[in-house]
Amino acid sequence: MNAPDGWKRQDTAPPTDTTDPDYFHKVVDCQWACPAHTPVPAYIRLIAQGRFSDAYIMNRQSNVFPGILGRVCDRPCEPACRRARVEEEPVAICRLKRVAADHKDDITDRLPKKPSKTNGKRIALIGAGPASFTVANDLAPLGYECTIFERHGVPGGLMRSNIPAFRLPESVLTEELGYILDMGVELRLNSPVGSMKALLDEGYDAVFVGTGAPKGKELSLPGRKEGDANIHIGIDWLESVAFEHTKSIGKKVLIIGVGNTAMDCCRTALRLGADDVKVMARKPRSFFKASEWELEDAEAENVAITVNHSPKSFVVENGVLTGMVFETLEYELDEKGAILSQNVTGEVTIPCDDVVLAIGQENAFEWIERDAGLKFGKWDMPVVDETTFQSTTPRVFFGGDAAFGPKNIIWAVEHGHQAAISIHQYCQDQLLLAHPANGLELTSTKMGMFEWRYSNSFDDAHRRAMPHVELAKRFKDLGTEVELGFTAEQAAIEVERCLNCDVQTIFDAPLCTECDACIDICPVDCLAITQAGDEVHLRETLDAPGLDAEQALFVSDDLPLTGRIMIKDENICLHCGLCAERCPTAAWDMQESQIIIHHVEDMAEGASQ
């Protein structure tokens, strides 16, 4: 008879295209936030099943260094974790990665082997850091002859020279770099490359520059020269400690700067004999560059962090550094916390024996002659394509901190993956522009009436605290790893905190009988059946509208009985599957989404077909 009025789709947000791989990829916030797009929920499920080796291999395909990154990654995944939207803290993703690395079996026979013969293409990789090693990891198994040039006597780059051993044990570094060297990669130690021109003349088919950002920033203030013996550049000083050239420091140490390098400097100073370490920050805490967890770890070791102190001069008496003069500042902030103005309120002198400058680092390309053919752009940085990582000299590629300035290890890995694709395309005379698009595979997780092949029930446990070596024991030597790793019990609880955001709620509109069962059972009220409308209006329909417009709103096709639509706010979904369990017609299903992200090996297979 008369169909309900106003239930027809008018001008409205169109139905969501869930076949676009990016749609579900964004729902897996951790994976989307990870530069290398590590499939986090999938490997956490493997850890939950005790399949540590499988979890490690899955990690390795994306991020190459699970053991290293499980300790020192900057973890962009964790601030993105959906868990923090429905509870206090994100899943301890990074440290779960370490669980897989620590407890795996011997996985060497699962890694790519050194190929029986090479393809005759020679690749020079400059700098033995994470970027070059990733390129070698991707290219060597395909037959490329990779040679890594390293200025130091050991490989690892800043991972070895700048990350102290109490955070990253040397054995872990050696193991994971070793896997790549075993693929037939040649490593030339103590071999600084002094001239790009000379290297190009050696006839390599491609050159990859992964030299990082190895130069610490200088602070030119009065007294700098006079006090030089006790004023250190942070990353140089850390390097000198790592290679055991420096074995002690004064009792009172000031660290200038408050980034992650500053945190490594202050904690290293404590291990070299300092007992009064202050980190001096120019701005308030909300402006600190260091990750919150690194600040916490430093403060737990009784490092004092002093805000609103701007360095003015070094105090040198009788040729010896005795202190530093700071201007004290106060800031006026606006509502959003941005600085409106700053005032100098006074001046203080803080006594010290040594000062470590950790105010940033820069690239250093003195060894690339400006007539070698590469164009240099802003800030005297080489011009590098952001997609292909190719420089203006076609056979020279950049990656890691060398490409676009200092970032972190996981970015260097992703640069390496992308540069490897470009180098392969370049060496095979293919167009460089088209890096392969991501794919999407969906598989149902349904096993029975209310059974799924993932742990769908919501566990309200809070984040587990990482156990640390007790304070009294950790300063004895530099190599005592502070973090002990999760216990089996902790790991078992932490894995259950993951919401399995890669198990998607798949809605089949034609099956829906509009009974509202899914809406009533949803613990976070993220579903609604409503009349079509624009997206702003649709979001307002929800009981607890998601506040983040960046998070997608799913819009279904027209429902068969009334022509209304089902909407779902992806923002706070627990992926618990209760909607699917309450659905009488299986219009909702819980399906695992696997984002297919191509590395160079996939292209090589495609090329050989």
Partner: protein, 351 residues
Amino acid sequence: MTSFAKPSINLKNAKRNALGLTWHDYEGAMSTLCAGCGHDSVSACMAKAFFELSIEPHRAVKISGIGCSSKTTAYFLNEAHGINTVHGRMPSVATGAAAANSGLTYIGVSGDGDSLSIGMGQFAHAMRRNVNMLYMLENNGVYGLTKGQFSASADVGSKSKKGEVNLAPPIDPVTLAMSLGATFVARAFSGDREQLVPLIKAGLKHNGFGLIDVISPCVSFNDHAGSTKSYAHTYKYYHKAVHADYVPMSKEIKTSYDAGSSVPVKLHDGGSIVLRKIDEDYDPYDRGAAYAQVVERAAKGEIVTGLLYVDETQEDMAATNKLASRPLNTMPYDELCPGNAELTALQNRYR
């Protein structure tokens, strides 16, 4: 059933009512009804109505009889009082409870079997007495708990799941209620919460007996082709005649309600029910005309919904019978039990 209980999540931006509670605080135990049962939607709508009215859960009483519908008192308002009575006897217990304590909000939950067969007499007399309660009749046309036999509300010609055709004429709770003098008579559908939640609020605030006959499909035994109480059939023949909104006293009624087609009905508590007529020629204040419309349109197969009849001028049971306005449990013993001398005096009046 579900594999685990609905977790309690503290959303930062969850809506809160005047008591600071979220609607989840008005939920109950996990439903054991079939997935997709209309009754679960009705339970959710009741939780939302109590939430929106900011009624303290412990000031509410849920009373039910026997049947799938009567189980649902466990599935909303966890913190409320509740009684599961003998089959069909919910109205008597509710009448007694309302007489003993008029300070609470009473909600009776029943089904078509509990109300229209075994409890028909009880149902009729509660309406006749105008007990101050909201009576939710969750109507699915079958006895779901005993595998889908036709109930007294099954339409002529409606088919059972096995294909058997119902021949006995249905009892329509709405026309029955109008004929017995009920003062708030509504029909709704579990699939349309935009209509149902405001109706429940209006019914809870109405002074006297409120009936909502809510079509609530049985997904297991009466949701197939040929059924006249399925989701598909109800959506297809569903027609909104009068929309009702409860507006509390504190809120000014906006003039944007179209004069002529919308009229506020003043309530006992100072608030109002604002009726928005969707059918211009439907008159929810004229019992005879409303009755005629419902019967006439039902004959055409149309399911007319909304607040179909309302009369706010009648006294409820407590007023008619001059019952104590104070709850009995707050009275001192001497007042509640005046003693042997008073009893003897009372008895002597009848000698």
